[in-house]
């Protein structure tokens, strides 16, 4: 039977189930005694198992089956819920997520087996909940996977920082780290030579990052009959098993995938040192990785291009409304066709009025179909904050509210990354360590509030923490050091202005580069991203009380108010939301400062831009006019004046994309269609200077 037609449904439903597992697991961690949550988790795991089974994804089925066994044992009170146990369940969840994303990309579940996870699940069952046999954080390099027989577990592999970072990097780039244990025949005579052959074979397919015993010892035959290596590769472990098995005098080969190491964020310094020590090697690996990745990515994109469809799940009631309206539209059309304009003007006018009402409602209904609750973005944050908190060794509680607030699909897609960045920022920079909080007399558990609510035509999202607040003195000092402001400027700065410094490009106050933040991509990126969707960001901060980031987003991107202006023979729209005021300015009063034309608006220096020049528009008369028409727009907090020839008026416009071919061009946010059917471009105020 052809199952591909159900694939899309499978993907959507799996994603939904994985989401709900995520939430339930977090709840279970908070309250291990909660039987309802446990039952819910069991039910969801069972459903995923069933679905995967039907679709023929056997690896996924196997994993969920093992998960179910453990959950069943918990339900029967044979095993107690511990933090480590939840960690493993989370790992299962990540594995499931990986399966689903592989399916999205390739329509197949891939060949990752997650034997390490399954082994941990088994060992939990066998040991009645004690996970000591496979401690969670070292589980990554534990070889007790199901297909490794016990006799070869001689000693655990010990990795140094460089090796860890190499493995992590490779996995980040989508490669495998395969741990291979080779046992030679007891009677093997030239062990070193054999080992050499095996090494050569391995190096054909990847990069050996680790050998135990060390390579020198193997070469000197200072090993018993077995050795273990870790290879970074794009190939599957099966290939290595086959290859090495075909070499003479090899008694047994075992291979398993390593997962990522939890490199502590605070280790960044040592990491740097080591990177400096062995740069060539890293570079070499990176090259291999980059090469492999290119091929991999290209192939993946090709397939993904065909497979993934962007879909929206829509409330059936909303669809009904749409259907009804379209029905009415068709009735009106018939009425119009039949109406005799000359003899029955009254009837004609009524029909037109009716048509107007239907189209307005239709517009409204379509907009509603595009609306998605912010919940879809917020959902992933509790898990993320939990992981970050564990990494940083902080106690953090995330309180979310207003998840039901709805936003346009196009905006929703864009705000995920900025929000992740801000939450990380709050966790890392905002909230103090437990010790520091105790000193300050604050509760040890830091709180981050993530709130969404609607306000007029905007949706506001706030990220507030009760941490240390923004240290403005430090910010200023950093800005002076970077040459962004002078000492004098720093002295005259208000508190708020100092905070705004954070939004300058490549500004980071982190003393140390950590895994989480401080890598130079900072709040400026967040700001640009939010401004791209027509939103704004503001910050409030109080020392030792905390800081609050307020993001203001437009409800929808598709339709908004704009001002139509004339420049030469061309018409352009300027979004009304960014317009501050429109002035008639005397041309004599325009001053020039270092080639930049400026005007003095209530003692404020406002630079002006002649649209005709910037956009190479011919036949503009603004050059020789005595009076200039200036539309003052807000560019972030700054004002800029755009000189136009005349202002036509305000209109409600539907934004259309300029398409992939023209997506790279500056100055325009899109285009719209005028009443006469021609196209007018919408000016992107943020990119025009």
């Amino acid at each position: 039977m052809d199952m591909t037609q159900y694939l899309q449904i499978f993907i959507e439903e799996s994603n939904e189930h994985v989401q709900s597992l995520n939430q339930s697991l977090l709840q279970l961690e908070r309250d291990p005694e909660d039987k309802d949550v446990l039952n819910e988790i069991f039910r969801v795991a069972h459903t995923i198992k069933g679905m995967a089974g039907t679709m023929g994804f056997t690896k996924m089925t196997k994993l969920t089956h093992d998960m179910e066994n453990v959950l069943q044992a918990i339900r029967n009170s044979e095993i107690a819920v511990t933090s480590d146990l939840v960690d493993i369940l989370f790992k299962c969840l990540d594995a499931l997520e990986n399966y689903v994303s592989t399916i999205v990309a390739t329509s197949g579940e891939g060949d990752k087996e997650y034997t390490d996870i399954m082994a941990s699940l088994k060992s939990i069952l066998e040991n009645k909940g004690t996970i000591s046999a496979t401690p969670v954080n070292t589980m990554n390099n534990d070889s007790k996977s199901s297909d490794v027989s016990a006799k070869y577990i001689t000693e655990k592999l010990v990795f140094d920082e460089f090796e860890k970072s190499a493995v992590n990097k490779a996995i980040d780039m989508g490669m495998h780290a395969v741990k291979i244990t080779v046992a030679l025949n007891k009677g093997c005579l030239l062990k070193a030579a054999r080992a050499f052959v095996i090494f050569q074979t391995l190096e054909k397919y990847g990069e050996i990052v680790k050998a135990q015993p060390v390579v020198q010892d193997i070469e000197d035959e200072k090993f018993d009959s077995e050795f273990t290596v870790v290879v970074l590769t794009k190939e599957d472990k099966q290939l290595f098993l086959n290859e090495i098995n075909s070499i003479a005098e090899v008694e047994e080969v075992l291979a398993s995938y390593l997962s990522k190491f939890n490199v502590d964020a605070k280790d960044a310094e040592t990491e740097n040192k080591i990177e400096a020590k062995v740069p060539e090697k890293i570079e070499k690996i990176e090259k291999v990785v980059a090469k492999e990745e290119n091929i991999h990515e290209a192939a993946k994109q090709n397939i993904a291009h065909k497979k993934t469809q962007r879909t929206v799940r829509v409330d059936i009631d909303r669809l009904d409304v749409l259907m009804n309206l379209v029905g009415e539209l068709i009735i009106t059309k018939t009425r119009l066709e039949e109406a005799d304009i000359t003899s029955n003007q009254q009837e004609y006018r009524e029909t037109i009025e009716y048509l107007e009402r239907v189209t307005t409602n239709l517009n409204d209904a379509v907009m509603k179909v595009r609306m998605v609750p912010v919940e879809t973005v917020f959902n992933r944050f509790p898990r993320m904050v939990r992981d970050i908190a564990k990494d940083l060794g902080k106690d953090i509680q995330l309180i979310m509210s207003g998840e039901e607030t709805e936003l346009d699909r196009t905006v929703i897609d864009e705000i995920g990354d900025p929000l992740i960045h801000m939450l990380r920022n709050s966790c890392d920079h905002g909230l103090e360590s437990k010790e520091r909080r105790r000193e300050l007399g604050k509760p040890e558990v830091g709180t981050i509030n993530l709130t969404a609510y609607q306000s007029g035509n905007n949706v506001i999202i706030e990220v507030a923490d009760d941490g240390s607040g923004i240290n403005t003195e430090k910010t200023k000092a950093k800005a002076i050091e970077k040459g962004i402001i002078t000492k004098e400027e720093a002295l005259n700065m208000t508190q708020q202005e100092a905070i705004e410094l954070l939004f300058r490009p490549s500004f980071s106050t982190a003393d140390k580069v950590t895994g989480l933040s401080g890598r130079g991509v900072g709040l400026d990126v967040v700001k640009t991203k939010i401004e791209q969707v027509g939103g704004t960001v503001e910050v409030e901060s109080q020392k030792d009380k905390g800081s609050r980031f307020i993001i203001k987003l437009p409800l929808t991107l598709a339709i908004y108010q704009a001002l139509l202006v004339n420049v030469g023979n061309e018409k352009y729209f300027i979004p009304l939301g960014s317009i501050y005021q429109i002035y008639n300015w005397s041309a004599d009063e325009v001053k020039t400062v270092q080639g930049q034309e400026i005007i003095l608006l209530r003692n404020m220096v406002v630079p002006i831009t002649r649209l005709a020049d910037t956009l190479d528009i011919p036949q503009s008369d603004s050059k020789d006019k005595k009076q200039l028409k200036i539309v003052i727009v807000r560019k972030g907090e700054k004002l800029t004046g755009l000189v136009v020839d005349s202002v036509i008026g305000q209109q409600e416009i539907v934004i259309k994309s300029l398409g992939k071919l023209l997506s790279g061009i500056k100055y325009f946010a899109g285009a719209t269609i005028l009443g006469d059917g021609s196209v007018a471009l919408i000016i992107d105020v943020n990119s025009i200077t």
């Binding site: 190479d616 061009i665 100055y667 196209v679």
Partner: protein
């Protein structure tokens, strides 16, 4: 010609249009519409062969000026000027041509590889040279021409 190419060109249909004195052909399967000339909105700061954008039944579509692309002198718009709308992979694009002439069926033996005739680096957007009733038609590969 290799067997593979023979097979590929066996029954292809091309739309022939003119630019000045030259004739060009486009694979008819790639064409969605042929439209009369309409208002084109200039898009500032784009390469000179991008003539602008048009509204095609609610979609904004970029339009290319083939004359500019081929370094031919610009001409006046006439009654015969047409915009050919092509769909290349996922992208729609319009092309302004002087006149649309005819539809032709070309078999492999009437198509000659371009590389044997033209030896320039930027000829990779030429699919081949077709011969119809003693006339020469340059068959274009638009994916290459707009660098998708």
């Amino acid at each position: 010609m290799s067997d593979e190419q023979v097979h590929e060109f066996e029954t292809k249909q091309f739309i022939v249009f003119s630019l000045g004195d030259e004739r060009f052909g486009i694979d008819s399967l790639k064409i969605t519409t042929i439209d009369r000339m309409k208002a084109i909105t200039r898009v500032p700061k784009t390469p000179n062969f991008v003539k602008g954008v048009i509204n095609l039944r609610g979609d904004i579509i970029p339009v290319m000026d083939l004359r500019a692309k081929f370094n031919l002198p610009p001409t006046e718009e006439t009654e015969e000027t047409r915009i050919i709308i092509l769909k290349l992979e996922e992208i729609s694009i319009g092309v302004v041509v002087d006149q649309v002439l005819q539809t032709i069926q070309l078999t492999s033996d009437s198509i000659e590889s371009a590389s044997t005739l033209i030896n320039s680096a930027d000829s990779d957007y030429i699919l081949g040279i077709g011969k119809v009733d003693g006339e020469i038609v340059t068959l274009l590969n638009f994916e290459k021409l707009v660098k998708l």
